[in-house]
């Protein structure tokens, strides 16, 4: 695939490296000459000096034939405009923008950016999950299908302890797929599996049902 990366900061650098390792054709667009030089020294001549929001620059780097366009500068506005230019002027099928302000997630989607990645949200989530009492951990999001895989811990005081799976009224679109129990092999839950305190449950759910699933399983 031909992938254009706008922004040669730390995210841009490691992303480019990873994409090159996967065998993709990658081109980085970066404003700073010094940053461009260090890219050339470390990864070869794959960095083009220019403004990734400018249509002229993007035309020069062959954006029209790009399969994917990723904007990872530290500026939300710049990432938005770069993606919009790529999308509307060069018809790039897939545009991805990094955002710092989580509030911009819905705005960017509405304005035509295909995928947004909020660095702030990701960091927050990871730190939150380290808090021992954290009730629900997001393991994976499958965006195209609107599904997510989550982990929920059953607290000892929960009323679900001692109940079978079939006695629970799970919200629509939610399936319990695995129970991880102390000193046991992981169990695939069946209708008559009885829940125990401290069970770690891996479940598939939707963003809408997530909250109900959490309260159902952790219910007190």
């Amino acid at each position: 695939m031909y992938i254009i990366v706008v922004g040669g900061g730390r995210v841009g650098y490691y992303l480019t490296k990873a994409l090159l390792d996967e065998g993709h054709e990658v081109l980085v667009v970066e404003k700073s000459a010094i940053v461009c030089e260090s890219f050339t020294d470390l990864l070869g001549s794959i960095c083009f000096r220019g403004d990734g929001c400018e249509a002229a620059t993007l035309a020069e780097v062959g954006t029209a034939r790009a399969d994917m366009f990723v904007a990872v500068t530290g500026d939300d506005e710049d990432n938005l405009v770069a993606c919009q230019v790529a999308k509307h002027k060069f018809n790039v099928p897939r545009t991805i923008a990094r955002i710092r302000n989580p509030k911009n997630e819905t705005i960017f989607k509405k304005l035509g950016v295909d995928v947004t990645v909020s660095s702030t949200n990701i960091i927050l989530e990871h730190i939150e999950e380290e808090v021992p009492t954290h009730p629900l951990t997001h393991l994976l999001t499958i965006r195209d299908k609107g599904l997510e895989i989550v982990q929920i811990k059953i607290p000892p005081e929960s009323i679900t302890v001692g109940k079978t799976i079939k006695e629970l009224s799970l919200p629509p679109g939610s399936t319990l797929s695995l129970i991880i129990r102390k000193e046991h092999k992981p169990i695939i839950p069946k209708a008559n599996t009885i829940l125990q305190a401290e069970d770690q449950i891996i479940a598939v759910t939707t963003p809408e049902s997530e909250e109900t699933l959490r309260t159902t399983l952790r219910g007190t």
Partner: protein
């Protein structure tokens, strides 16, 4: 009319002063309170500190009741983003956006934003003057 202006630079401040003098309800936004010194002393509108690319600030500025939104900061991309938020999220009836870069201005014009490029306008004007 209710008008929200983002960016209280020379142009923003002067426009705010003119519209205010005509009796419109004007709110000017800027991230730096020092910029408000440019507003004329008789300015009767509201000066609000904050970024026009932020939904909360825009709501505080009364964007939901605004008839016109004008984006006049130094940053083309900031103007573009704020203008699009005003147009597509808050459905402001008239949104005007300054974009210095002529190419970007053209693109966003075709995408339905009312944009103008001071670069193009001034270059053409100068050319006209010099030729006459």
């Amino acid at each position: 009319m209710k008008i929200v202006i983002m960016g209280c630079g020379r142009v923003g401040a002067q426009l705010a002063g003119l519209l205010d003098a005509e009796g419109h309800a004007v709110t000017v936004l800027d991230i730096d309170s020092y910029s408000f010194r440019r507003l004329p002393p008789e300015f009767n509108g509201t000066a609000l500190i904050g970024s026009g690319a932020d939904e909360e600030t825009l709501k505080k500025a009364g964007i939901e009741e605004a008839d016109i939104f004008v984006a006049l900061t130094q940053g083309d991309n900031r103007n573009v983003m704020a203008a699009q938020i005003a147009k597509h999220i808050f459905n402001v009836p008239r949104v005007v956006c300054r974009i210095y870069d002529p190419l970007r201005q053209e693109l966003y014009n075709t995408l339905g934003l009312e944009t103008f490029s001071p670069t193009t306008i001034f270059a053409q004007m100068l050319k006209g003057k010099l030729e006459s």
